[in-house]
């Protein structure tokens, strides 16, 4: 295929060519960045919580005094146990994708000089670790004697099981077992490490801190009450959540059932990422509309060119060009314009990404997005121009002999 005559012809349509190329360039920039944003959001949504989400539900009640805590705990645990299919009920402060409850900055020394960052504390009574189904990779689970009663926030000296990510952050390369950290006057000693344990609101403090969490065995009572972890077979869990309000209204009529925060953990997860899903939907919509508009623009302009050049096409056909030659001419012309657009689009895409990086804490665009976008746009261009090009190829040679 000869490219020079195509370029020469394009020189007569500089403005239209430039417009299509600019459109492709903008489309390339938006396409790359929108796809990248989608990939980021989907990455966020894939976070591993470290607990058996499908077998767990959270039941939350409020509206009672701390002094009533032990009584409320006893009534509700008994009540929930009465629902068919419930395997275990334990008291916990929150779960991944639940409300953030105990989040605090920790120190690696007693004096509070070496900061360890802000982490989430999960506090749970006996039975919680078994119910959560976390996977221990080092050390041991808390024993019965490790569950200590609280006087306010934490016991003075607690054993704790931390996530692998937190261990790697606090003591990189070292064995975390037996290591200690402090939160104000409270002291914690690591007795076990689990492979994953997401914080209650993963991503709220950045992606690298999404698993900075510690489980602290705690005796339920005045300072640990009102939030219950229910474990059951995944098929029973939705029904148990539905039945819980009625059961609680019977066993503890004075408390307020917290409908917003009582749910299966898988639904809590689903709701937690609602905003990300909405954004992904919007971005997909933009991408689709964008491709459609770009394709229609190419169709419109190519049709115009074909109509404008009917005579020239007829002459070419009359002097021996085959239909294939004409078809290839328009396909190649489109390929050249789209290529020009893509080259400009790469610059635009990187510039747009730079804006996003500085304004919205989006990571840098990986370069492999660029060739993928190029292939997509080349395909789009070729498909869009196909119909007008076929119409051009169908122009009979006899047109050359007619005027207008």
């Amino acid at each position: 295929m000869q490219i020079r005559p195509i370029l020469a012809a394009l020189r007569h349509h500089r403005l239209a060519t430039l417009l299509i190329a600019l459109e492709i360039a903008l489309a390339c920039a938006v396409l790359c960045n929108a796809c990248f944003l989608i990939a980021n959001r989907i990455g966020n949504m894939r976070i591993v919580s470290g607990v058996d989400e499908n077998s767990l539900a959270l039941v939350v009640v409020t509206g009672f005094e701390d002094t009533q805590g032990p009584d409320v705990n006893a009534r509700i645990i008994a009540g929930l146990h009465g629902i068919a299919g419930v395997q275990s009920v334990s008291v916990i402060n929150t779960v991944p994708f639940g409300q953030q409850v105990d989040s605090a900055g920790i120190n690696k020394d007693r004096a509070g000089q070496i900061q360890g960052g802000q982490i989430d504390f999960y506090q749970g009574g006996p039975g919680t670790v078994q119910a959560l189904g976390m996977k221990l990779v080092e050390g041991v689970w808390p024993q019965a004697a490790d569950y200590l009663p609280l006087h306010d926030y934490f016991a003075d000296d607690s054993s704790t099981v931390i996530s692998k990510a937190l261990a790697a952050h606090l003591w990189p390369g070292a064995d975390p077992l037996g290591k200690e950290f402090w939160c104000d006057r409270f002291h914690f000693r690591v007795i076990g490490v689990v492979d994953h344990l997401a914080i209650a609101q993963p991503g709220s403090r950045g992606t690298n801190t999404a698993e900075w969490s510690a489980f602290v065995p705690t005796m339920p009572g005045r300072f640990l009450n009102g939030t219950y972890l229910v474990r059951a077979d995944p098929s029973d869990i939705p029904r148990i959540v539905r039945d819980a309000p009625a059961v609680i209204a019977k066993v503890a009529p004075d408390v307020v059932f917290d409908h917003a925060n009582s749910n299966t953990v898988s639904d809590l997860r689903h709701n937690y990422f609602e905003r990300d899903r909405a954004m992904v939907g919007m971005l997909l919509g933009v991408i689709l509309a964008l491709m459609l508009v770009t394709a229609l623009g190419i169709v419109g302009l190519a049709s115009f060119w074909v109509q404008q050049r009917r005579r020239q096409i007829g002459i070419r056909r009359a002097v021996g060009a085959t239909r294939g030659d004409i078809l290839r001419y328009f396909l190649t012309e489109n390929f050249l314009i789209v290529t020009g657009g893509i080259l400009l689009g790469i610059v635009f895409a990187l510039a747009l990404n730079l804006v996003l990086v500085t304004q919205y804490e989006v990571p840098r665009l990986p370069l492999y997005y660029l060739p993928v976008a190029a292939v997509v746009l080349w395909t789009l261009g070729q498909l869009a121009v196909l119909a007008p090009a076929l119409r051009a190829a169908a122009v009979p040679p006899v047109v050359a002999t007619r005027t207008v």
Binding site: A16, Y153, S204, D258, A278, M279, V286, L296, F304
Partner: protein
Amino acid sequence: MFGYYIDLAMRSLKHNKMLTALMVLAIAVGIGASMTTLTVMHLLSGDPMPGKSATLFYPQVDTDPTNESNHAQPPDVMDYRSAMDLWSSRRADRQALIVDSQLKVRAPGVDLPPLMETMLSTTADFFPMFDVPFQYGGGWSAEDDARHARVAVISADLNDKLFAGQNSVGRTLRLRDSDVRIIGVLKPWRPSPLFYAVAGGRFSGGDTSSFYGKPEDVMAPFFSGLEINDGHFYQFNCWGIPTTPGHLEAAPCNWVQLWVQLGDAGKVASYRRFVDDYAAQQKALGRFTHADNTRMRGLMQWLDFNGVVPSDVRLQTWLAFAFLAICLFNTVGLLLAKFLRRSGEIGVRRALGATRGAVFAQCLVEAGLIGVLGGVGGWLLTMIGLWVVRRQPAAYADMAHLDLTMLLTTFLLALVVSLIAGALPALRASRIPPALQLKTL
């Protein structure tokens, strides 16, 4: 002449329905996307107190004496003592303390299960200062604040829920274990954002949609609120662990917000000085270590500092306008094709005496007509877009409606976009030499 051009434009648009439809569609989709996001932006970035925001200020002092934070900015809210000192000196025209807490609410004699509601504990000036509208009754007085009166103001929502919208002034509400008398019921009131409670935006990672929630359903005098719900107050942040959880009056914690109203520039300057002097005095007393670190932002500055518009919404607006730009280029290309296809016709008009300006005007009228049609389509798509936004789980979703300003903006934007798109092709069309075109006929 304009009428004639409209007639010509109609004929021309009817001549090639496919191409016309493509152009109208491109403009409609671009306008629909950008107006949907622009309406949401308009809703979220507007002035919640138009006409009054310039007199409202948010003083801040650096209450944290430790070196755990970098002290680049003072904390977003104050500890009890600082807030109380500034408030009780009464140096501003009006001043209001603000603190939120959760508590159990029941209405004796109403057969409904107890509710958990957010209670706003504030001082008497809150209502006149923020022009809070009342349906029944009114707010409380400074004397009620001083004698810890057991009174409350409730929202229209809660009044509907508990008392079926009847005038409930004089009725009793049980807040936790205390009975209070309802003295006022608000009209539906929905400032966007809930500006007086905004704080901590810089720590939210751009997820600020919670700033657009509804106002509290229960409002009680500040000190009464602290007594009624003692033990259930949450800190914004602490530089030491409070000795009694939920009881923060003496705790090393920030949890109280203070708003002041200052009528003129002189008062603003003197209040600024007052805050600075207070911080210096507290440093002398050994309570503060960073006395210079004070701020007093105006309402709009405070909202801006907190980045109240969620980053997702700003991102969507960027995307929508990039998309509109693509639609614009698309329309330029198609209009160019359309006008140049009529080169012969235009050549004849020119030969018969039409000036370049006349041809240019004719082409622009045609482009404008496409813009108006695209505007109608864009308006419909905006309505659909906003309907989708209202179904989102965001706190501001219920407020996403097209007001008159944005409706007019829709058509104006469509017209402007189409005229911009039409300018270049029209210029090219007006440059068509008559002779060359006549020769080919």
